[in-house]
Amino acid sequence: MAKKIPQINASSMADISFLLLIFFLVTTSMDVNQGLARRLPAPIPPDQKVEDKDINKRNLLVVKINSANQLMVQGQLMDVKQLREKAKEFIKNENNVDYYPKLVEEDFGSPFGMIKYTKDHVISVQNDVDTQYQAYLDVQNELVAAYNELREECAQKYFHKAYKELEDDQQKQIQKIYPQKISEAEPKNYGN
């Protein structure tokens, strides 16, 4: 007579998997790591002298943050909320005024053709040692937002699409028209 194979009691299987489930439920953290992505400049080799790059004054937008988190843009006190518009104006220089960066005409290929853009503009952010991190990040955020908005406008104008939906090489073309040039100086003490 064939031996009957005894059935394994699987009723506790559900309990075991419940236990595991609850463990992972508890340890799960769904929050994704987000952040403001930036790129640092490469270090200066020790044998090389620090040379001040000669930048034409009109090509430079100086943003200073003092220890009381106040903002000074081109020598004027300004609120963080106004910075984005100011930066956009500066980067575009639509009206070709002489106190905003020099416009350079260059061929960007189809579908752009010849475009005038502020090739050599630089935004310089200078902060105090005692500046609050949040205030610094606010400024960085507004400047990045200004670039993002300009790129978005450009994408809508030439491709009639959102910047995010463009192909990689199309995004690169737009990045050439609006290159992110945010320079950061060493922190100094600007009055107290």
Binding site: A14, S29, N33, G35, L40, Q132, Y133, L137, P187
Partner: protein, 155 residues
């Protein structure tokens, strides 16, 4: 003729639960795949700053973290209430960041090394002097891709 059965005992049929483990396993696998264990235990208290132009850090294996903040209540006695830097599980000085980055980089695959991103998780009230020191150290260690950790500002 039809007979009306009235007195016959009716038993509730047993619910078949044999597929219950499968369902639970399905849930289990879902949570297993989305789970991220906390990287370290925080020794510094960090209130994230807020920003709007955020990008997600895609690959977890490429990201290394630097924590900056005031030591938590347990450590105030031994480490004071000044802003401190935490690398992995220990307090560190800004000078140690260079070695930390080089160590971490050498433990990564060679093809991934240039893609390493350093996420600076700093408290929103940190003074910029500390952050500037960290940035200088990162530059020196050629860890140029950085990300300032922040949460989305809700307007």
């Amino acid at each position: 003729m039809a007979k009306i059965r009235r007195n016959e005992k009716r038993e509730m049929p047993a619910l078949n639960t044999s597929s219950l483990p499968d369902i639970i396993f399905m849930l289990l696998f879902f949570f297993m795949s989305v789970t991220t264990m906390k990287e370290v235990t925080y020794k510094v208290s960090i209130h994230n700053p807020q920003a709007t132009e955020l990008t997600k850090l895609e690959k977890k294996s490429l990201v290394r973290y630097i924590y900056v903040g005031v030591p938590t209540a347990d450590f105030v006695k031994t480490y004071g209430s000044d802003t401190r830097i935490q690398l992995d599980d220990a307090f560190a000085e800004a000078k140690e960041i260079g070695d930390f980055i080089i160590n971490e980089r050498s433990s990564m695959k060679e093809s991934e090394q240039p893609l390493m991103t350093v996420s600076i998780k700093a408290d929103k009230d940190t003074r910029m002097g500390v952050i500037a020191d960290i940035k200088q150290e990162l530059r020196r260690a050629y860890a140029l891709k950085i990300s300032y950790a922040a949460t989305q500002r809700s307007n």
